[in-house]
């Protein structure tokens, strides 16, 4: 009786682990897509409406998907507090808090750090150019991430389950 329960437990745990890893592969493209649309929202605010950055970030935080809105909300809070920090500092602080809890890779982080360097610091044309470039780079990362996800999601799902089964078989 205990043996069966134990075996089930092992299988479920290993399966869940596999799903978790698979999930992380699926999450990254999702997050990258959300970031792309958030950045193009920001571009619209900046280029067409010339909304001041603090307000623009707030707007983007409100309208973007929940997995990335935290980044923009933090950057907005950092700027709005008027503690004398620059847009770049506020953005980097927000990134530092956001990155560890995200599914992004160092490559993706580098693109976002690049955004911080120019944020608000030039005229509209220039802002548009840089934001579009960042979007483009995120798009290529996304293509790669999706390809990777396709390969790995199924693999890890089954891998977890079968590893669980294998362990059970060995122990029995």
């Amino acid at each position: 009786m205990f043996k069966v329960a134990g075996a089930l437990l092992v299988i479920v745990a290993a399966g869940a682990l596999g799903l978790l890893v698979a999930g992380s592969y699926a999450r990254r493209p999702q997050e990258l897509r959300a970031l792309q649309s958030a950045l193009s929202l920001l571009e619209t605010e900046i280029v067409y409406a010339a909304t001041p950055l603090t307000e623009a970030l707030e707007q983007v935080a409100r309208r973007s998907e929940s997995c990335v809105s935290g980044l923009f909300a933090r950057a907005h809070a950092g700027l709005a507090s008027r503690t004398g920090s620059t847009a770049q500092e506020a953005w980097e602080r927000a990134l530092n808090e956001y990155y560890p809890n995200s599914y992004l890779r160092p490559d993706d982080l580098a693109v976002l750090q690049g955004v911080g360097k120019i944020l608000g610091a030039s005229d509209r044309q220039d802002q548009a150019k840089h934001l579009r470039l960042a979007c483009e780079r995120l798009r290529t990362q996304n293509l790669k991430a999706e390809e990777e996800a396709r390969r790995n999601v199924r693999l890890w799902r089954y891998l977890g389950l079968f590893a669980g089964l294998a362990i059970v078989l060995i122990l029995v």
């Binding site: 909304t51 001041p52 603090t54 700027l79 620059t86 608000g120 005229d123």
Partner: protein, 338 residues
């Protein structure tokens, strides 16, 4: 001497300090924060230039600050402004949004919440012979805008014609004499009405091209400009006057610093529509005004009925002269010891 009204500074030194130091980076904030409230209440400008001493100017003089925030006259001991200081100040005054102040930057300054004007200097980026924007900003002049209620008290009796009408008025003075301060108080009193003079309030339309009169932030006046005042913020003057005339049927239109041909043409348009005008112009005297081709027209056609001339003697708005627009004779000279 005429009746001296009660002058009230709407924001005393300590409140001004809180409001203004937020626009400076922490290094400079630490220095400015140590100035006593009394110093703040006379402070007019804070000037930052890369690698040069930090200079504060007030009515009739200037001072530098040491690294400890103490006043000094010796440039050798004064705190030197770093490149970083200027870059950060620019970030703070533009709200980290250079792109949002492009149009203002083209004119060389931006207006910040609270109505203060910040002049910026650097390298101009020219496109097709016109300044597109400024880059490599190296100089900042933070001009503190004050709101003093009651400055118009002495001149008002000369500008009011009856209970519901007034003279077309032009305030002229060199820079830093309190032109805008006087205009703002005039607008407030014309709009609210002056029971003391039996003057009921008129609807005033303000075209505030540089957000200096009403100090609008997101369109809401941060200054008291009266209860019957509509402010068109950030709009070019000539176009703004026409827009106000069509849309809001004002009795009086007020605007700052006229000088371009289209401004004068718009003013004439206002007169034809029976709207009264209150405006300001840069000039030291009426004669000087006459030497500027565009404004000469205003004089020759006797459009302006009253000139208020401000002179800088002991401080802003110290001496005022009211001149009749038909015969250019001084109607009244007001000495005020502020």
């Amino acid at each position: 001497m005429v009746y001296m009204g009660q002058l009230t500074e709407v924001r005393p030194g300590h409140r001004l300090r809180e409001e203004v130091i937020g626009f400076f980076p922490t290094t400079i904030r630490a220095l400015l924060g140590q100035l006593p409230a009394s110093a703040w209440s006379v402070l007019e400008e804070v000037r930052l230039r890369v690698h040069k001493p930090l200079i504060l100017s007030r009515a009739g003089g200037e001072t530098m600050l040491t690294g400890e925030g103490l006043p000094t006259g010796d440039p050798g001991r004064a705190y030197r402004v770093s490149e970083e200081d200027v870059v950060r100040t620019v970030e703070l005054v533009t709200g980290s949004s250079l792109y949002a102040v492009e149009d203002e930057l083209r004119q060389g300054f931006v207006t910040v919440p609270g109505g203060h004007r910040v002049g910026l200097c650097g390298r101009a980026v020219v496109e097709g012979g016109r300044v597109r924007t400024l880059k490599y900003l190296t100089g900042v002049n933070f001009r503190i805008s004050r709101e003093v209620q009651g400055v118009a008290d002495q001149v008002l009796p000369w500008l009011i014609r009856g209970p519901r009408t007034m003279y077309n008025t032009l305030i002229i003075s060199p820079p830093r004499c309190g032109k805008t301060t006087l205009l703002r108080d005039l607008v407030r009193q014309i709009s609210n009405g002056v029971p003391r003079l039996g003057f009921t309030g008129l609807t005033v339309g303000v075209v505030d091209e540089r957000s200096e009169i009403a100090g609008c932030y997101r369109g809401i006046p941060q200054r008291d400009v009266g209860l019957r005042t509509d402010v068109l913020d950030g709009c070019p003057k000539a176009e703004g006057m026409m827009l106000l005339l069509r849309a809001l049927s004002p009795d009086v239109i007020a605007t700052d610093e006229i000088g371009r041909r289209e401004d004068v043409e718009a003013l004439e348009e206002m007169l034809n529509a029976g709207v009264r005008i209150v405006a300001t112009a840069h000039a030291a005297s009426v004669e000087e005004l006459g030497s500027r081709p565009v404004l000469r027209d205003l004089l020759q056609r006797h459009i302006v009925e009253r000139f208020v001339v401000l002179e800088y003697r002991h401080g802003p708005g110290a001496v005022r002269r009211i001149i009749d627009g038909r015969n250019f004779e001084t109607v009244e000279a007001i000495q005020c010891s502020r």
